[in-house]
């Protein structure tokens, strides 16, 4: 299913719970797609606001991911660094439809621009 505004990237249960997968966009950063302990799905540019760590490789806990490089915590819903750290990673809107994960087309293409 490929509608104008949304890109279908697969089944939600292909993403490990409290884990992440990536979506590759040619010519741009990867997108990290996360699934939380309670089954919600989020997407962020796969790039930590600190020094570009791959957030998709971090540990997901609660509604945040800990960056694998220096352990900054990034809120999945807003892309903002939590706690003392300051910075923000672009958020890609996501919606779930019948178990499929759809990500916002425009934001995805922007990531590649």
């Amino acid at each position: 299913m490929l509608t104008g505004e949304w890109l279908d990237i697969g089944w939600a249960d292909e993403i490990p719970v409290r884990g992440s997968r990536t979506v590759q966009v040619e010519g741009g950063d990867d997108i990290a797609v996360f699934r939380t302990g309670d089954g919600r799905v989020f997407a962020l540019a796969d790039r930590c606001p600190h020094k570009g760590g791959r957030l998709s490789q971090g540990i997901v806990h609660g509604g945040a991911v800990a960056c694998p490089l220096h352990n900054w915590r990034i809120a999945l819903a807003t892309g903002e660094a939590l706690g003392e750290d300051k910075g923000c990673t672009p958020v890609i809107p996501v919606k779930l439809s019948g178990g499929r994960v759809l990500i916002c087309r425009a934001s995805t293409m922007q990531a590649a621009a």
Binding site: L2, G4, L7, D8, I9, G10, D13, E14, I15, P16, V17, R18, G19, R21, T22, V23, Q24, V25, E26, G27, G28, D30, V33, T36, G37, D38, G39, R40, D46, K51, G52, G53, R54, Q57, G58, I59, V60, H61, G62, G63, A66, P68, L69, N71, R73, A75, A77, T78, E80, V101, R105, T108, M109, A112, A113
Partner: protein
């Protein structure tokens, strides 16, 4: 069911026809009658043969707690008394909006002035082979319950597909009716839409204790059987025998009629605030509607909708504005409540209370001093109060500290200061429920010199087991000592009031088996921990339950998940194992080939005498490992909290100073110790003489060969803080050297804190302690080494081989790929 004649006056009234004799349809009419009993002439069509009954109560009927008669809401008398014509067992099949008529299955056609669609929902049937076999049923109406009861009468096995509210109520009823029930749930936790992981885990344990089998993350492949259901096969091949299969995987608004009639339909029949559809003559209410993008699956919103609908029908428009919902599980003895958003959205803060001895878990989610969600397990008494505060958006800032203790405590007696509340407790009040310690005993313990939390825990055991009374003990310390309270050892992280040693001790003492269990029993303050406690707990459980504990991959740092070393650009470096630092032409060729084939920008000899291949892409890792495996090389664990390398010198075989075969011993030690997960990384070296070319005295375990044997030393470190090893003892043979090494590693594995290298550990416990355990206590040493070898049976398993063979392929492959200009708009 034939047409009744009405008094002349009635004929002049507008005719309101209702499709659906369910909870919303009838409630709407009740509301209408309460406002104006004479305004409409009403005809209700129902597909079911029954009068209006309380669908929610089907669960107690199934469980044998209620009879059908007890759940009837309106009996025939009510329809008659209000002049309502009820047509049962005759579903409406078509709506003709031009002629303003509806036609039912019996062929009967009736005209309407206003039409109300209240068709509810249809259970969703997962499209698997065998779904139409006799014995596969849903759980939606009285007919389904009758089917289940008939099947249960024959006993045997039942499978319930779906671990949500409905599925669990079905499972409960069938269990009470004597069937052996297995619940198959796709998600990792039960009722995941209503409960968080912690509460879901508690619920699962409680249901298992009642004899149900709960399979989570289980995906149904097919329902097997020839004449009737015989079982359910899962995607992983498991076959579960069953003579009854209940599908309770969800519901879909029943919109077929409306869609065929050309009404605007999204997920449900779209209505405005007055429940009017895209056709002004047609209204809709209940689970079949979509209002403001929302569809509902609970009754509370229906009541609000019915009020707005009735107001609209009598011309005093009030309007429906959407509903916030809460859920309860109606299974006796299992109190579960949830409301609002408990998913921990941005800026929201969790207040968690866990009382393991009473099986209680409460979590209130607060954002900007307002409650936005709540999950309660075990004690749901305050559910209504939290829900009310949530709906009203009440500012709870003033009672925040007390909130989690419930209404009685937070607003009762004007005690808004926790210190005053604790001070007011009598000396005989029990503080610690686990160990039965009273306030008087705690204070006496403090007076006797217990000036820290830890000292109190050691002195009188208060707060030493589950920790739920930690806050009260700390308050008592503050009241009794003021500023003289001594800080105890650091807690593991902000998720718990316990330190590493306490957690480890309790994991063993209480025989805990999973991360959620530890979090519940030890009163974790967060729902699923953080990036510091989760890896620690995973390690502690792994160490405590060799061969049994199932590693939680999502609680491991990326390097241990990917079995390679993440670099700052997101690529990985790969270090194949070279036993004792020895290599062969074949290995060197394989490494050279990998470097060229995968375009690795750099290869480097590491400090531990291995070759490190840099710049490998995540996607290429499995192929790289396959190539290295083919040349006989396995993972070097250069990325893990585990045995890294055994560094050796050439020793007596080549060196003119060499006293023993240090290379040979190094290879043997590495073969014995590789694969072992530890609190932190661990390095070993073996030097062939005291010239110590392998730098054995700055390793975690060092061997220096001398003419008369092997000098063993421990706790060295070459990192930020250089530390030379402490001498442990001297042994005469290679076999002894290896035996002591195994015992020492196991002691470190069992007693050091996660992420504590051997150097700080030994400084903390003292080298005398280590000598006493390893050098002086022969029996203890044998036991430690024995446990090490048991664990190694399970741990010596090359993680690369499995990945190269395709395991967890998804970790390496992206979910999707897009090429911007190739994406059709």
């Amino acid at each position: 069911m034939h047409h009744q004649s009405h008094p002349a006056a009635a004929l002049e009234r507008e005719h309101l026809v209702v499709i659906g004799n369910g909870m919303a349809g009838c409630r709407a009419i009740e509301e209408l009658i309460a406002r104006d009993p004479s305004r409409y002439r009403v005809t209700i069509f129902g597909a079911e043969p029954h009068v209006n009954y309380n669908r929610i109560m089907l669960s107690p009927v199934l469980a044998g707690e209620k009879s059908f008669d007890e759940i009837v809401i309106n009996d025939r008398q009510w329809y008659a008394a209000n002049g309502i014509e009820l047509v049962t067992s005759d579903p409406v099949l078509a709506i003709d909006r031009t002629a303003r008529t509806v036609t039912a299955q019996s062929g009967r056609t009736v005209g309407y002035d206003r039409l109300l669609i209240a068709t509810g929902s249809d259970p969703f049937i997962i499209p698997v082979p065998g779904k139409d076999l006799p014995g596969v049923i849903t759980f939606r109406d009285m007919a389904d319950v009758d089917h289940m009861l008939a099947a249960a009468g024959k006993g045997g096995d039942a499978v319930v597909i779906g671990g949500g509210l409905l599925g669990l109520e079905a499972a409960h009823g069938l269990t009470l009716r004597g069937m052996k029930v297995t619940v198959i749930h796709l998600m990792p936790t039960l009722m995941e839409r209503q409960l968080d992981e912690a509460a879901g885990w508690l619920l699962k344990s409680a249901l298992e204790a009642r004899g149900q089998t709960i399979l989570t993350q289980a995906n149904t492949a097919e329902i097997v059987g020839t004449e009737a259901v015989e079982g359910v096969r899962l995607k992983d091949g498991t076959l579960i025998p069953a003579s009854l299969v209940v599908m309770a995987v969800g519901i879909r608004p029943s919109v077929a009629l409306a869609r065929d009639a050309g009404l605007a339909v999204g997920r449900g029949i779209q209505v405005d605030d007055h429940m009017v559809t895209s056709d002004p003559a047609i209204l809709a209410v209940g689970e079949c509607v979509e209002h403001d993008g929302q569809v509902y699956g609970l009754v509370a919103p229906l009541w609000d909708m019915c009020r707005a609908l009735a107001d609209g029908l009598v011309g005093s428009h009030s309007g429906y504005r959407g509903s916030v919902t809460s859920t309860k599980l109606k299974v006796a003895g299992l109190d579960v409540f949830s409301a609002g958003d408990f998913s921990g959205t941005d800026g929201a803060e969790d207040i968690v209370l866990r009382d393991a001895s009473r099986g209680i878990y409460k979590r209130v989610v607060v954002k900007d001093d307002r409650i936005v969600g709540a999950v309660l397990y075990g004690d749901t008494g305050d559910g209504g109060w939290y829900f009310d505060l949530l709906k009203r958006g009440e500012d709870i800032g003033a009672i925040r500290d007390m909130l989690i203790f419930g209404q009685a405590f937070a607003s009762g007696g004007g005690v808004a200061d926790p210190k005053a509340a604790v001070a007011a407790l009598s000396d005989t009040a029990e503080i610690c429920g686990c160990n039965g310690v009273t306030k008087g005993q705690v204070v006496a313990c403090i007076d006797a010199g217990g000036h820290s939390l830890d000292a109190v825990r050691a002195g009188c055991k208060a707060s030493a087991s589950c920790g739920s009374c930690t806050g009260i003990v700390e308050t008592l310390l503050a009241i009794t000592l003021g500023d003289a309270v001594e800080a105890g050892p650091r807690t593991m992280c902000n998720c718990t009031s316990f330190g590493h040693d306490d957690v480890r001790r309790e994991i063993v003492a209480q025989q805990m088996r999973s991360i959620p269990e530890v979090m519940q029993k030890l009163h974790w303050a967060t729902p699923d921990g953080c990036s510091s406690c989760r890896p620690a707990l995973n390690y502690y459980l792994l160490c405590a339950l060799p061969g049994e504990y199932v590693d939680d991959q999502q609680s491991r740092f990326v390097n241990e998940r990917m079995h390679a070393n993440i670099q700052k650009d997101g690529t990985y470096s790969v270090v194949p194992r070279m036993w004792g630092g020895l290599t062969t032409p074949r290995e060197l060729r394989a490494i050279a080939d990998v470097v060229e084939k995968y375009d690795a920008p750099m290869v480097k000899v590491t400090g531990g005498q291995r070759l490190d291949i840099f710049g490998i892409k995540k996607e290429d890792l499995p192929a790289v490992w396959a190539d290295l495996n083919a040349a006989g090389m396995v993972s070097g664990h250069a990325y893990g909290k585990s045995l890294r390398t055994v560094k050796t010198c050439v020793g007596s075989e080549w060196c003119r100073f060499g006293t023993q075969d240090s290379t040979g011993l190094g290879v043997k030690i590495e073969r014995m110790t590789w694969g072992s997960w530890m609190p932190h990384k661990f390095k070993i070296a073996v030097s062939g003489c005291p010239r110590n070319c392998a730098e054995a005295t700055i390793k975690d375990f060092g061997v220096v060969c001398v003419d008369s044997g092997y000098e063993l030393s421990v706790g060295g470190n070459g990192g930020i803080k250089v530390r030379a090893t402490d001498f442990l003892c001297k042994v005469a043979t290679e076999a002894e050297a290896m035996h002591y090494c195994a015992a020492f590693i196991q002691l470190y594995r069992e007693e050091a804190r996660y992420l504590e290298r051997t150097a700080p550990w030994i400084e903390r416990v003292g080298v005398d302690y280590i000598r006493a355990r390893i050098a002086d206590d022969a029996e203890g040493r044998d036991a430690l080494a024995g446990r090490f070898h048991v664990a190694q049976q399970f741990l010596q398993d090359d993680p690369w081989a499995a990945r190269a063979a395709g395991a967890e392929r998804e970790q390496h492959a992206p979910m999707a790929r897009f090429t911007p200009h190739a994406v059709p708009a």
